[in-house]
Symmetry: C2
Subunit: 225 residues, 2 copies
Amino acid sequence: IDESGDLEESRDFDAETQKALEEIDGCQNEIDALNEKASEEILKVEQKYNKLRKPFFEKRNEIIKKIPNFWVTAFANHPQVSALLDEEEEECLHYMTQLEVEEFEDIKSGYRIKFHFSKNPYFSNDVLTKEFHLGTSDPKSESTKISWSADMNLVKSARSRQEKMKQGRKRGLDVKSFFLWFEDHEDPSQDDIAEVIKDDMWPNPLQYFLVPDIEVENGVEEEEE
Amino acid sequence: IDESGDLEESRDFDAETQKALEEIDGCQNEIDALNEKASEEILKVEQKYNKLRKPFFEKRNEIIKKIPNFWVTAFANHPQVSALLDEEEEECLHYMTQLEVEEFEDIKSGYRIKFHFSKNPYFSNDVLTKEFHLGTSDPKSESTKISWSADMNLVKSARSRQEKMKQGRKRGLDVKSFFLWFEDHEDPSQDDIAEVIKDDMWPNPLQYFLVPDIEVENGVEEEEE
Ligand SMILES: [Ca+2]
Ligand SMILES: [Ca+2]
Ligand SMILES: [Mg+2]
Ligand SMILES: [Mg+2]
């Protein structure tokens, strides 16, 4: 009777009950339509505020460029992100000048994270982007192909650390690697690190830059958990 | 410097960096203010649609009253709710005529679930209400004191089933009981059954009433998981 077909199965009801069920189904259709309209309005509010917030994020990014090692410090102080940073990778992230997180216009369908770098000995790319397409039943992520300089390939280093760990039978222990994460596309709808960068780091990085009692510059670190 | 006090800790920065940090903090304050305004607007949209949906829920409740055993059938067909129903309790729920779920006006602070009953041999209450106050750091729930008829107290029955289970060392197995759930206030912010009733049963009970291939009336049940 309705498009969902549910009521067509109910052949055993008496006429009065059948009529009542159809009326309930009619109510459900009205409620569903209102739910749909509510979602659309909420999306519009979110889009409006994304636009209003954007100039402040841009201004913030310009100011952050003036502070040496802002992002590597914030990353190294962040409980989840720091757990990903191998020592050499942390060196490499000293060349990171800017982070950008952009939600796609319709928000639900995905987002991208852009890591901007100054000229550095590791790779020739100016921007490394990891992008998430989540709008379909088959979520996908993709990331910039990194043009590593000779003998500076940190993905290769991470893979050989991984191999050594397997041989040492330290299974269960994952290798720390920012760049393995960057190139990992196994479960794009559950990329915890990407979500932490989008929902925790990007909204307020200052709190991680400023974490007291953690010294990044001289390599002495006191983790507070 | 700002109310959060974060920047007061940063005494070691040079003047230029300190100035940049204060500017970043200024941007954060603007972003925070916009986040707050966004939340308020979204709340208003949700409140508006709660009001618009309300007459359809009320109309639906009136129609449902015409269908004998609508709610007990929907409950008994629902995967999580049915797991709670002891046989005698299911008998009792045949007297349930109406379900109501009301979110508090500001939505985030809580909700109540009202179970309406016709005259029945179990208790004298017309309505049993379980109510959740979640707006504070100390969430609480409360429920109607049930006036059980002599020898019909289903909470007592459930407690004695519980005792027997403990003696039989079947620990880990929880006793099935709708009424123990109704009177349970241990973790109001994580009441899975209440949430399933609010977010799954209430939005569309017809789908559970109509689940095919499950016979409730004659006691033969084929569960489909
Ligand atoms: Ca650290
Ligand atoms: Ca059943
Ligand atoms: Mg440094
Ligand atoms: Mg019945």
